[in-house]
């Protein structure tokens, strides 16, 4: 067994190594095997370690953003503050301060009032207004609402803002901490799951900022991208694979498609800016323009994977159909294409996942705009998940740091989901011949 692995054990080799030499040779061979295995294992561990580190950083930073500190307050809606006939004219800021004062039982100076109102989000006035608008009969009594705490106090509650830092070096004053602790002692401070992260649009204030706009934007982007790249990609692939003559021109097209797949994505962004927006007048920052650009980028992926799927259909199936007198289009549409569909879908989903994570071209066509409401259609200005991450990563507030990571987690979640579908399709539906 061992000897037989030594090359040239045939008749031409006169002497076999002595058993001692053979043992030495074997030992060296085992050592070499071990070295190779250890090197491989080290490389894998290093790679897995890096990935683990990356995920750990993202998750540990992002997890806090999945809860949001809320303060429950009873806002007085006395007739002198709120005029039921004209809710717009109401000084909602005063109502909010009234709620804080009611809880803390203090009547402080206007300067202190301002500090006090900084504990809860600046948008509390709109939250209260909308609640009253939805239920005007409450005017005259009071309304109890949990409103998000302002970002520094969310941080304080989560232990991200440290109390032992000198007052001058932190964004909350000692007085504010005292008030917050008082609210906390009254059981008014809670930290429920942060639904706002998914259902709010972007906002200047981290405690109010959510991904609704980005998710909707990404959805419209992928919709446009899919509607264009799927049919065009499949049609091109079918033509190239089944109908095109094999000549220099089709070779040239093929080479170019492969090159396009390797093109840096920012180039597509420039193209989109120059062609779709400047020449065809597609709206800036809109999913329509973004989807067009992404579809250009995804097309090569879909064409290449569709061609591979078509090529994988055994010629015997085509021959069988042709032999039965099926015409070219019947062979393609009734036999080859249905059999290739799982492969095509897998390629398409991978292409869509690629489009979902693409950032650079979207930045170029202005999809990093600050938009505070989800887009209502493909023509509205919007962001997308990756550009939202880009925007948040650029924001200085503490709350946006964890929200950036949380948004990355959401994006990764979508990508994982799409890739899982692709893997499922590949393993379950793809036929092995």
């Amino acid at each position: 067994m061992t000897e037989s692995t030594i090359p040239g054990t045939g008749a031409a080799v006169a002497a076999r190594p002595s058993s001692q030499a053979a043992a030495a040779l074997r030992k060296r061979r085992y050592a070499a095997d071990t070295r190779l295995r250890v090197a491989g294992l080290t490389a894998i561990l290093a790679a897995v370690g890096m990935l683990g580190l990356l995920l750990w950083t993202i998750v540990s930073q992002g997890l806090p953003a999945f809860t949001q500190t809320h303060v429950r307050l009873d806002f007085p809606l006395s007739a002198e503050l709120v005029d039921p006939a004209d809710l717009e004219a109401t000084n909602w800021r005063a109502v909010v301060t009234g709620g804080l004062n009611a809880a803390l039982g203090e009547t402080a100076s206007p300067a202190q009032q301002r500090l006090l109102s900084q504990i809860i989000t600046n948008n509390a006035q709109f939250i209260v207004r909308d609640a009253v608008r939805a239920n005007p009969s409450l005017v005259g009594s009071s309304i109890t609402l949990s409103v998000p705490a302002a970002d520094p106090f969310d941080g304080l509650n989560k232990g991200q803002v440290l109390r032992d830092v000198p007052e001058a070096n932190r964004r909350v004053s000692d007085a504010q901490i005292a008030w917050f602790d008082q609210l906390s002692a009254q059981g008014r401070v809670t930290a429920p799951f942060n639904w706002g992260l998914f259902f709010n649009a972007d906002s200047r204030f981290p405690e109010m900022a959510g991904l609704a706009g980005a998710i909707t934007g990404s959805f419209y982007l992928l919709l446009v991208c899919f509607l264009i790249s799927f049919p065009v990609g499949i049609a091109s692939a079918i033509y190239l694979e089944e109908f095109a003559p094999k000549n220099r021109w089709t070779d040239l097209i093929e080479v170019n498609i492969n090159n396009l797949a390797a093109m840096p994505s920012i180039v597509y962004g420039l193209l989109g800016l120059a062609v779709f927006i400047q020449i065809f007048g597609a709206p800036r920052s809109a999913p329509l323009s973004g989807g067009l650009v992404l579809s250009l980028m995804v097309l090569p992926t879909i064409i290449i994977s569709t061609r591979a799927a078509l090529k994988a259909i055994p010629p015997s199936i085509r021959e069988a159909a042709l032999g039965m007198g099926a015409s070219k289009h019947q062979v393609v549409m009734q036999h080859v294409l249905p059999l290739a569909m799982p492969g095509i879908l897998t390629g398409t989903i991978i292409g869509m996942a690629q489009a979902l994570g693409e950032t650079a071209p979207l930045l170029l066509i202005g999809m990093n705009a600050f938009v505070t409401s989800p887009p209502g259609g493909i023509l509205d200005a919007s962001t997308s998940l990756p550009t939202q991450i880009f925007i948040w990563a650029d924001s200085p507030e503490r709350g946006f740091v964890s929200r950036t990571s949380a948004a990355i987690m959401v994006l990764l979640g979508f990508l994982l989901f799409m890739n899982a579908i692709a893997i499922y399709l590949r393993s379950k539906l793809e036929r092995r011949w």
């Binding site: 159909a321 042709l322 039965m324 007198g325 099926a326 059999l339």
Partner: protein, 276 residues
């Protein structure tokens, strides 16, 4: 050189029944001087042969001699191969099948084909057989289609084995059953000629015997051309045998004559196992 002379002689001898065949339509397929090139490589060097009606004609010869190539000319399957060029003349019932006005789809409905490796569609047994009648519009109703499917399966001797599982995939059958399914599929469109390229080479002896028996039965209604590497098979199932060598038709004639009394030395050498 020798072989070329042999060729000429064969063509001459084949010339005589040509006139006769025009009278009694006993030769649905007639080929004259068929030359095939794959790109620059010539695969067939002027093959002329008549295929008699309602009988089995066997093509034999060593590997690569052009049997499949010639067979595929008869239903123009070679059209699908890039760079394949066919010249010469092949007639089906007196009409040139390479005439530009001829519709290939129709031709292939009239000249069915069974391949070396059983290749049922990855669809149900029923759909496999129903496919041809459907695309050629042969059945006006569901019941008519059922009738065609059932009778084709019966003719292919598969009915008893599959009648309870018509909706199961055809690819789930055994190799021999698959091949008979492919034969059923071919006869479902009512072809005049059935071409079979080594239909038994992927089958075990028992399945082979069943298919051979089937071929013998089908001979009553169809003109069959079969390529085979088995002398025994050619001798068992065919009435006429044609021997190909290096792209040339060396000799053709009644099967018993070819096997008992070959005129050419190459034929003799091949059937006795000295070449090939």
């Amino acid at each position: 050189m020798d072989a070329t002379l042999g060729m000429a002689k064969t063509t001459e001898t084949a010339g005589a029944p040509l006139i006769q065949s025009e009278i009694n339509h006993a030769t649905p397929v007639r080929a004259r001087d068929v030359v095939v090139h794959y790109g620059t490589k010539q695969a067939l060097f002027g093959v002329s042969i008549d295929i008699p009606e309602r009988s089995v004609t066997a093509f034999i010869g060593p590997s690569g001699c052009g049997k499949s190539t010639f067979l595929r000319c008869i239903n123009r399957m070679n059209d699908t191969i890039v760079g394949c060029k066919v010249t010469g003349k092949i007639e089906l019932e007196g009409a040139d099948i390479y005439d530009p006005s001829l519709d290939v789809v129709e031709l292939r409905a009239r000249v069915g084909m069974v391949f070396q490796k059983p290749n049922p569609f990855p669809k149900s047994i029923y759909d496999n057989v129903a496919y041809g009648p459907k695309i050629h519009g042969l059945a006006q109703s569901k019941s008519a289609l059922d009738e065609i499917v059932h009778s084709s399966l019966r003719k292919a001797g598969l009915w008893n084995e599959v009648k309870d599982r018509l909706n199961e995939p055809g690819t789930g059958l055994s190799g021999g059953q698959q091949q008979r399914l492919c034969i059923a599929r071919a006869i479902a469109v009512g072809p005049e000629v059935i071409l079979m390229d080594e239909p038994c080479s992927a089958l075990d002896p028992i399945a082979t015997a069943i298919v051979e028996e089937l071929i013998d039965e089908l001979r009553e209604n169809y003109t069959i051309v079969i390529v085979t590497h088995s002398m025994q098979q050619a001798a068992r199932v065919s009435q006429k045998t044609a021997f190909f060598h290096l792209g040339k038709l060396i000799e053709e004639g009644k099967t018993e004559d070819i096997f008992t009394n070959p005129k050419h030395k190459q034929t003799q050498d091949y059937i006795t196992g000295r070449i090939g």
